[in-house]
């Protein structure tokens, strides 16, 4: 392929992934500016037009000055990425020599380093590897064409370049896993580059519930969190409620937080022995942590606030996925009572709703609740995500006209009707249900499981009321499709990626070292360690460690006995080498050893028995006629060598 064309192709390919990812990170103005300039650069290069170097350098300096003037801790990443993209675009506009290609790929690498703060899924990890492969090949080919003064690349050269570099990269990927495990780490980061402003990949969860809003996200398959139950399984994962936040103020259309919830856990001092789970939260939910109902304790590396309404929020900004451990008991209501009046707030509502509330009032608070729920059944309310009642009076339309709505309408209407009957009530936003992934033994909560329900303060306790018709509420729409199955399989990779790569920290490193020492000493002492492994994860970690240990031993042996491995490799790839060594071996058995300075014919001359000598000479002649004339050993020659070797063996 022609050099200039190949260079442009390589450059274009290397820009593809950065620009795809940048769409989600850069502001739209900067994105389209850089994209436009990049396209212009390619167009101009095609015409042989380049911007003068001094202009490029001066603009580069200006961008950097602008960056330094505008950067602060809260916008560092976004600002840095924007500057890197602008510098990259500038470099594309100039005439490119080898040095410039190096600089361009360096910028791309730095951009990826910046991206690593924005993208946490396994797919980014995969794209990172693809990009590294691309950059490596591109760099090598640029260097090759420059150093080799090549205008074209021949097929054979290209094939060898691809194979050799492929081998180098494969080893790099293998070795990097050892570096990854062993690089020094700190117990907690010194700088925190995550800020509130940078929540780009945010889920649709907000601190307000506007009627009809959740329906948009109830179609989404985005992963919100994964969790592992420490011992045992959930009997009904589909009915597990994840609490995120509560809403106490209703203005007729929107539910939101009205009051400040104090930082006191309602479970403080209440001993709760329940299940323990480790949660990996994928995305920021306004700083709130989804916890299974009812969670009494949350532990994490970052500071967490336990709030009085049974929710948990981050006390500091952090990165995602975020890992935390929770202790929870299913069905353990909370009894916190603080500022109950706030939960009785009612907006101005139409007379019709007032009349309905009046009609549904029972003798007790429980009866009122039962009446409300019975009303939905009696009037045949249906769960629906489509054609939701919007407009000026959505609740009124829901209650009297359409009688169709999603969880927000049911929960919103119920809470309102309860409040109008002097029953303190609030809306709880969160998720309902989880998919059990057998292969990874974990549970998966998707964005479309977003749900809203009600809590009513009855009999001194907050009781969960989920008025949405369960028969029609489809947290799990029938998913028989191949795509959704594949998506679930793909999530297992993501789960392990999160668990083993993104969540690897000093604690795990220490554990690994400890285990490595232990395993090593056990291997040395040849101890029987059957029956000692009670913990499943401990055992799998140990298996992993043994594998790594074996790998290290193998690499060590490989380095020590490189010659032997090379010989084996050559035997595999070159049958004539195999035959030659068999020939030498055969003669060695008869007492004729070739000294390092001797050639094949010297060896033959040493043979005493005439018949053996003649046979050996014939073998040597055939071998050398190909080997020294640099002819490739064809099938015929190999067959002949084989037959002579056989004859030599038969003389024994």
């Amino acid at each position: 392929m022609e050099r200039t064309k190949l260079e442009r192709l390589l450059l274009g390919l290397s820009l593809l992934i950065p620009f795809i990812l940048a769409f989600q990170v850069l502001s739209k103005e900067i994105y389209f500016l850089t994209l436009g300039l990049t396209l212009l650069a390619f167009f101009l290069e095609g015409k042989g037009v380049f911007l003068p170097r001094f202009f490029i350098n001066a603009s580069g300096v200006l961008f950097i000055i602008f960056f330094l003037l505008t950067v602060n801790l809260s916008n560092f990443l976004e600002n840095a990425l924007r500057t890197l993209f602008l510098l990259l675009t500038l470099k594309l506009l100039e005439r490119k020599r080898l040095r410039d290609f190096f600089q361009i790929y360096l910028l791309e690498f730095l951009i990826f380093a910046g991206f690593s703060y924005f993208f946490t899924s396994f797919w980014f990890f995969l794209l990172l590897f693809v990009q590294i492969v691309l950059i490596s090949y591109a760099l090598f080919l640029h260097l090759y064409m420059e150093e080799g003064e090549a205008k074209f690349l021949r097929g054979e050269e290209l094939r060898h370049i691809i194979l050799t570099l492929g081998l180098l990269l494969s080893f790099t990927f293998l070795l990097s896993s050892l570096f990854f495990l062993g690089l020094p780490r700190l117990s907690s980061p010194l700088f925190n580059l995550f800020t509130k402003e940078e929540k780009k990949a945010q889920s649709g969860f907000t601190d307000k519930i506007r009627l009809g809003e959740i329906s948009e996200i109830q179609e989404s398959s985005r992963v919100i969190l994964r969790f592992i139950i420490e011992s045992g399984n959930l009997t009904h994962p589909e009915s597990l409620y994840f609490r995120v936040m509560t809403y106490d103020y209703f203005d007729g259309k929107t539910w939101q937080k009205g009051m400040t919830i104090p930082d006191i856990s309602p479970f403080k001092g209440v001993p709760m022995r329940g299940k323990r789970a480790t949660i990996y939260l994928e995305e920021d939910l306004e700083g709130y942590l989804p916890v299974p109902e009812y969670t009494s304790q949350v532990r994490s590396n970052v500071r967490i606030r336990g709030l009085f309404d049974g929710t948990y929020a981050l006390a500091e900004v952090t990165s995602y996925p975020l890992k935390y451990e929770v202790s929870f008991v299913e069905g353990h209501p909370m009894d916190e009572e603080i500022n109950l009046e706030a939960y009785l707030q009612v907006p101005e509502v139409k007379e019709s709703i007032r009349e309905l509330a009046q009609r549904l009032r029972g003798k007790t608070q429980e009866e009122t609740l039962r009446n409300i729920l019975a009303y939905y059944q009696r009037e045949n309310f249906k769960y629906s995500l489509k054609d939701l009642p919007l407009g000026a009076a959505p609740l009124e339309r829901f209650l009297f006209e359409t009688k169709r709505g999603n969880c927000e309408y049911f929960a919103g209407a119920t809470a309102l009707l309860l409040r109008m009957n002097e029953v303190p009530a609030r809306l709880v936003g969160g998720f309902k249900g989880a998919i059990y992934q057998k292969r990874g033994n974990y549970y998966l909560v998707l964005e479309r499981f977003a749900h809203a329900w009600v809590e009513a303060y009855i009999g001194g306790k907050w009781i969960r009321v989920d008025p949405s018709p369960t028969s029609t509420f489809q947290a799990f729409p029938r998913e028989g499709g191949l795509l959704s199955k594949l998506r679930l399989y793909a999530d297992i990779i993501n789960f392990y990626y999160t668990k083993f790569i993104l969540d690897y920290d000093l604690k795990k490193q220490k554990k690994l070292l400890h285990l490595l020492g232990k395993t090593f000493s056990q291997v040395i002492q040849k101890k029987e360690y059957r029956g000692q492994e009670r913990d499943g994860s401990f055992s799998s970690l140990r298996k992993g460690l043994i594998f790594i240990l074996l790998l290290v031993i193998f690499v060590g042996l490989f380095l020590k006995y490189r010659g032997l491995f090379k010989f084996l490799g050559r035997c595999i790839t070159h049958p004539e080498v195999r035959l030659y060594y068999a020939f030498e071996r055969e003669l060695k058995k008869r007492g004729y050893i070739r000294e390092p300075w001797e050639g094949i014919f010297d060896l033959v001359d040493k043979i005493g028995e005439p018949e053996l000598r003649e046979g050996a000479r014939r073998f040597a002649e055939i071998y050398s006629s190909y080997y020294y004339k640099e002819k490739a050993f064809d099938k015929e020659a190999l067959e002949e060598l084989k037959s002579w070797l056989k004859r030599l063996k038969s003389l024994r």
Binding site: L110, T164, F171, F173, L175, R570, E630
Partner: protein, 306 residues
């Protein structure tokens, strides 16, 4: 592109790109530790592994290299010539990439000089043409063959020195000159040619053909008969061979006289005239074949160099 900035140790030299790569690795390593971002740790691990493995691969790239040198049998001072370096990559799963070759040799005065070339891809054997235009006559010796490579990424330059025991002789520059002695004592080349044409030279025997034999001495008959090239050998009548005495040749100094002698020897061989060269106390006779020509030229080249 000039990349080199300094030598780490003998066989390895870090390039500017390599310095930048190392700085990037350190910078990203510190960032990874400070922020605890595992993806950065992954990137740093990749950078470190690549750095180490590129060293291993660079070594393999230069492993199993064998070299030999060949050159034309006649190289003259001031005339454009060449050396051919035959480089061979022995049995190895990896071919050789981006080889920079520097043939370092000593000229007859012991000055270190070098010839440079590049081979981008080496599998099996390849020849590298090294243009060579010597300035001094005498014996040239290869001191070492330096092979270096920027493979795989131009971050480091790995070097290797191959032992190459080769030497060759550069003959003096042939400079046209008129040898007065020749006019007095000898018939001119033209006269001699006439004689040969008239058959005054007596045919003696047929000899094996050697390269450089003047065309008129080739036995075309035997070529036609046996399809073999033979050379006719004549007895040159009564004329003794043309004697070239270095001290008596025109020229201001020894070098000029040697250049003149070289010219005359070449002319004589071109025309098939037998000659004898007197170098100090040594008298060299030409037997008319190519080997004796080379022998005489070699002696002229090395004269006064011991």
């Amino acid at each position: 592109m000039k990349l080199s900035v300094g030598t780490l140790f003998g066989a390895l030299k870090i390039t500017k790109a390599g310095v930048l790569y190392t700085l990037l690795t350190i910078f990203m390593g510190v960032s990874a530790i400070n922020t605890g971002n595992n993806l950065l740790f992954v990137m740093v691990s990749l950078l470190l592994s690549f750095m180490w493995l590129s060293g291993v691969f660079a070594r393999a790239n230069l492993a199993r290299l064998e070299a030999r040198l060949s050159y034309p049998s006649e190289i003259y001072v001031g005339k454009r010539s060449f050396l051919l370096l035959h480089l061979r990559k022995g049995l190895s799963p990896l071919p050789g990439f981006l080889l920079r070759i520097e043939l370092i040799y000593l000229d007859p005065y012991g000055e270190r000089l070098s010839l440079k070339g590049k081979i981008a891809f080496l599998k099996g054997e390849r020849e590298l043409y090294l243009p060579f235009e010597p300035k001094k006559r005498g014996l040239y010796k290869v001191e070492e063959l330096k092979i270096s490579s920027l493979f795989p990424m131009g971050l480091f330059e790995r070097r290797k020195w191959l032992d190459l025991k080769e030497e060759w002789v550069v003959f003096p520059e042939p400079k046209r000159c008129i040898y007065a002695q020749m006019r007095k004592d000898r018939p001119s080349f033209a006269e001699e040619r006439m004689k040969a044409q008239l058959g005054q030279s007596v045919f003696e025997r047929l000899e094996e053909y050697s390269p450089g034999t003047p065309r008129k001495l080739i036995s075309w008959k035997s070529l036609a008969k046996w399809e073999e090239l033979k050379k006719k050998v004549f007895i040159e009548g009564q004329n003794p061979p043309l004697l070239l005495e270095i001290e008596k040749l025109p020229g201001e100094n020894l070098e000029e006289r040697l250049s003149c002698a070289t010219y005359l020897v070449l002319e004589a061989f071109k025309k098939g005239t037998s000659i004898a060269v007197k170098l100090g106390n040594t008298l060299l006779h030409s037997s008319g074949n190519y080997n004796s020509k080379i022998k005489i030229l070699r002696e002229l080249a090395l004269y006064g160099k011991d």
